[in-house]
Symmetry: C2
Subunit: 376 residues, 2 copies
Amino acid sequence: MPEHATPQEFSILATDGRARAGRLRLPHGTVETPAFMPVGTLGTVRGLTIDQLRSTGAQMLLCNAYHLAARPGTELVAEAGGLHGFMGWDGPILTDSGGYQVFSLADMLEVSDEGVVVRTQPSGRKMLFTPEEATRMQQQLGADVAMVLDECTPYPCSRERAEVAVERTLLWARRCLGAHGGGDQALYGIVQGAYEEDLRRRCAEELAGMSFDAYAIGGVSVGEPADLRNRVIDWTAPLLPQDRPRYLMGVGLPADLLDAVRRGIDLFDCVLPTRNGRNGWAFTRNGVIRIRNSRYRKDMRPVEEDCPCWACRNVSRAYLRHLMACREMLGPVLLSLHNVTFYQRLTAAMREGIRSGTLSGFGRQWPCAERTGGGA
Amino acid sequence: MPEHATPQEFSILATDGRARAGRLRLPHGTVETPAFMPVGTLGTVRGLTIDQLRSTGAQMLLCNAYHLAARPGTELVAEAGGLHGFMGWDGPILTDSGGYQVFSLADMLEVSDEGVVVRTQPSGRKMLFTPEEATRMQQQLGADVAMVLDECTPYPCSRERAEVAVERTLLWARRCLGAHGGGDQALYGIVQGAYEEDLRRRCAEELAGMSFDAYAIGGVSVGEPADLRNRVIDWTAPLLPQDRPRYLMGVGLPADLLDAVRRGIDLFDCVLPTRNGRNGWAFTRNGVIRIRNSRYRKDMRPVEEDCPCWACRNVSRAYLRHLMACREMLGPVLLSLHNVTFYQRLTAAMREGIRSGTLSGFGRQWPCAERTGGGA
């Protein structure tokens, strides 16, 4: 134990170029990085029980404070013993503040330095959503890691809008820090600045001067090409404290993860394994299988021969295709289970690649993660 | 082993009044009766993996040959090693021929003694569905138990229609017997006759004279009141061979099961635990909990304190209500898991009640199963 109990300890165990393999200790457990967090927006990773989720190797989940505030309400979750008690997951949880949702969904009515006026769903009432409120809500949820409220910009984004978003994000970051009680919860800052190198630098340097437990890169995964996102990481990551985790928000496909890990990113979250699973995509080392395709009608092989997930050990591509064709709920469940397992195997293999200094040859074992062309 | 290998052995271990506790040996395993079969129409009990299904205590499943013939096709299932290989369930499976579906769904175009002309979904093409075809398809599916093709009548039903249906059902029963290869598959006959005592008697006596492995009572659970259904059982069950299982098709609520077990029924299937689970019903000893009700908003208790299902051991009513309110897939999954478990506990308790001669007092432990008023 350190002299002062901190909600988080992070140690880097190995590096390979700029890539880092680390260990992140949080109140509810330890996370080996690079790590991928499945997304459980409303306190459930769609379709999976907590036991199924554990079986994927997932170490840490992401939930969304903004959505949970609307339903079922953060007070109710607090009464249930926080998110851990409410949903039954006993490992680390990170909550997103909801900045991304506020700015990407249609319910934002007005934004000022004070906060954002939103129309909350499903009740439809107006609410002023402030940095202090976002912080308080995440403390009620009892997450291991809370995120600051930030202003997320779209792609493309005007210089002017990006400048305003950076200043507001910095203002709100200070207010979140001020409102945050500390205790058993880490608080991560978020770098904005769209695709402007100087704005990303300014935002990263200012935030690095504040005492956040770690730093995220936000405003990506909003439609930009991969090479532009990679430049954002190249500008930003080196300015963030070496000894703290770096989290790339909302990313992405396997090749996006590999690009980012090679640039020093430690944490990821993304809806792709579950959302695309529900739509019939199965991720494999060699690329995506679209299970509805008629070529799989009589394919009695598992989705992936060496995958340890329940679906691959028990049912065939033909059966999964049948489930999806009949809109049977078990299809989305099993493809989500496979895909979440796939992302855990992918990041475990990246950690191993870093420890053994072989990340440069990663694509030989995981062709899906190497870009064959240039860019996206 | 008997002198001639039979696909089925049935022994009665205990009786309590007319109720029987038995043991049914089938090629894929042994079923303790009275038994409830969860319904997996298309080769999947909606939302549940085979592991989850096993955890409920389910011993035997029902699938539907008619639906499986449309999607994915019985040939494909045969190539996958039959239903057992295709869906991964290694216990006994009964397939319904599809008689009920043909006569209750809108795709029946024409019926004659030869068979039924149906419009198959989703392709829309016309097909002549005959007793021989129904038998052949069920052999391709590799079920432990196949059902004859019958003509199922509605409620209410004219005398004339009921007479025609009985004669046609008897004709088709003989043709199914003739077409059935025997081997590792049992074949059950189905008694029709609507709500006419003499027709039920005639149908039961004629069928009892044919060499079916067991007998089902069909044409119930089509909207009739409970007392009328009970009378149908009272007329029919005593005429069926004592030494073979009796199966009441498509029934029902807990009180319906208890009524029928007390009248000598051994096997049941019904969509209620899964269908009503998807709609937010949770069965309990004391009656149904409608989980969307606002009274459960902050209810941190499990659905049922002594229930061993995963949902009751891990999540609260408040969490289930939240999942259903947000239309999260995990809500239907967990309520289905609970309800299927409930039906297995209910029938296990009935077996115990028969063995201990205490079935008359069943309602003290299971108030949900006793009728408080008279009738439905």
